[in-house]
């Protein structure tokens, strides 16, 4: 559907890319990245609003790099929605149909479908779009983007200003639009929950580069770099030294404690390795219960140092005995109630091998960075 090859662009001092990306027909890709990482700049370059410095953009195999925006057949829902204040709700939604010279019957039929789909009945005859609520504006802007019948829809942080309930309703609608109408969606956001809920594929953009593109599980459990791991709120990241690789390929890592971790490509003894485990993957061993075979390795005794309560979960910080290592553990409220932990309690935990992920630390790059600092 859309292929981006070696795309670079710049705005002021900020450089985007080079970026390579393929997006299949009817797929849903979310680009996740912190504010200022270049997500909007990437969309603008793909849409033809900004001239790329180099690279190629193809739609359905045809190069569109030098086409003007209106010839690319991409619909766009920007963060600030950009409704046209001098037009009423109906005229806003029908604006694209008029420009694309759609047949009146087709336009009105699509309008009627969108009114049903996005529940616009109560506001479709509203004269002044500035009097709409945030959620209503969002639905009108989405309807306006969808009415010309685009095959490709770009969304730029579309729900960032909405409250949680309306946001969830609209996220469900977006999935419906992708699945029922077959619209290919490229959605950029800094909201991890939104990216994981909506994206079949997720791309992580940091500092103008796509650091990783993959499925939800790839990104969530198997980050390719420390930057990605840190951005995805992996609290448990330990920089260790590889001291042995056993006959099954498992790595032995040391840094105050010894960890047995799954294999990591292209590593050798002496390398610096980051071991990563998500807080909800850490297992607490119940006292006086038999320990299953997969929990025999990476068992540690620790002391509960801190408890942070969130809405539905608690995060426990455990200091491992005889080391400076802290491990964060996320527990749902019901499990927390069962355990009845309090600060100072001793507990045994296990970092399961299959939950651990290892990343080779690029020491040369780091040394360069340190030297630069």
């Amino acid at each position: 559907m859309i292929q981006v090859a070696q795309l670079t662009a710049e705005r002021g001092d900020f450089c985007l890319g080079p970026i390579d990306l393929n997006l299949d027909e009817s797929s849903y890709l979310t680009i996740l990245g912190p504010s200022g990482s270049g997500k909007t700049l990437f969309l603008e370059t793909c849409m033809g609003l900004l001239e790329p410095r180099s690279g190629k953009i193809c739609l359905d195999g045809k190069e569109v790099t030098n086409l003007t925006p209106e010839k690319r057949q991409i619909s766009y829902l920007p963060q600030d929605l950009a409704l046209f204040p001098h037009l009423n709700v109906r005229a806003n939604i029908l604006f694209g149909a008029k420009q694309r010279k759609l047949d009146d019957k087709v336009s009105l039929s699509r309008l009627s479908d969108l009114i049903d789909l996005l529940d616009l009945h109560s506001i479709i005859d509203r004269h002044d779009v500035t009097t709409l609520s945030g959620g209503e504006k969002q639905r009108v802007a989405l309807a306006r983007a969808l009415l010309p019948g685009p095959r490709l829809l770009f969304l730029d942080e579309p729900f960032s200003a909405l409250d949680a309930t309306i946001k969830r309703q609209l996220q469900v609608k977006l999935r419906q639009i992708n699945q029922d109408l077959g619209v290919t969606i490229l959605h950029v956001t800094h909201d991890q929950e939104e990216a994981f809920m909506l994206g079949e594929q997720i791309a992580v953009m940091i500092d103008g580069k796509l650091r990783q593109v993959g499925t939800r599980d790839d990104i969530y459990y198997r980050p390719k770099s420390l930057d990605v791991a840190r951005f995805l709120r992996n609290q448990n990241i330990y920089e260790m030294t590889l001291t042995d690789i056993d006959h099954e390929g498992f790595l032995q890592l040391e840094n105050g404690v010894i960890l047995k971790a799954p294999a990591c490509q292209g590593v050798e003894v002496g390398d610096r390795i980051a071991a990563v485990i998500r807080a909800e993957e850490v297992v607490i061993i119940r006292p006086n219960k038999p320990i299953g075979p997969e929990l025999q390795d990476n068992l540690f005794l620790g002391t509960l140092k801190d408890i942070l309560a969130f809405g539905g979960t608690h995060t426990l910080t455990v200091r491992i005995a005889d080391s400076g290592m802290n491990i964060d553990i996320e527990l749902p409220n019901c499990a927390m109630r069962d355990f009845g932990f309090s600060i100072g309690d001793k507990l045994q935990i296990c970092l399961r091998q299959r939950s651990l992920w290892t990343i080779k630390i690029d020491t040369v790059k780091r040394e360069d960075k340190d030297a630069a600092i």
Binding site: T68, P69, S75, Y76, P78, F84, H86, A145
Partner: protein, 261 residues
Amino acid sequence: MLKRDTTFKVIMLLPLVFLTGYFLILVGSQSAFFSLDDFLAQLGQQDIRSAIALSLIAATTSTVIAIVLAIPTAYALARIEFPGKRLLDTFIDLPMVLTPIALGTLILMSWNTAIGRLLSDIGLTLPFTLAGVILAQFTVIVAISVRMLKATFEQIDQRQEQVARLLGCSAFSSFLQITLPLAKRGILAAIILTWARAIGEFGATVMVAGTAKGQTATLPSSIYLAMSMADLPKAVTLVVILIGISLLVLFGLRMVTESKR
């Protein structure tokens, strides 16, 4: 809180009261020299009627030309990046900082160049002609129009134009369908201000076109002529006419602007 607000409002309103009073004194002081009979008699004079007509025609024409040129110029300065933009932006402001007399001199001198002589040869002469009046007024007001319209275009969210492009508009169509309607109030404000400046223009007009009665004597230059000949009733009549026309047009345009909000 309420008391603090009241004090704040009074502080902000006092200068408004002062300015209104000051303007009322200026206008009211004319009453000593004003009589309705004189006024009606003066209105019947050919040279006064001619000055009114000339002022209206010249101010309206110069405003239309200035706005038509200022809209694309201001849009280019607000939206398009090109080398030397800052320099050009500053250069365009030149008429705003020069006195009208100096501007008039520049216009006259430019008619001594090859281009000026060419224009003279094809019949476009400036002294004692309507074209001279219009060109003088245009030169004075065009920079004001550009400045006001540039500010207007800069305030319009560029994202709206971009969304329009992605919905199928060409650059020109997006400008016509999105940018211009959104700039409507700014354009009307620019028209009001530039027209008001044009109808009151004196220095450059006198320098370029002179003050020939019935030919190039506008309302301001007629006032000057009347005062220089100590013809107070005529001067006051012309002032009252100028005030009346200006207030009528400004108020009318303001009403149009407000009603379209």
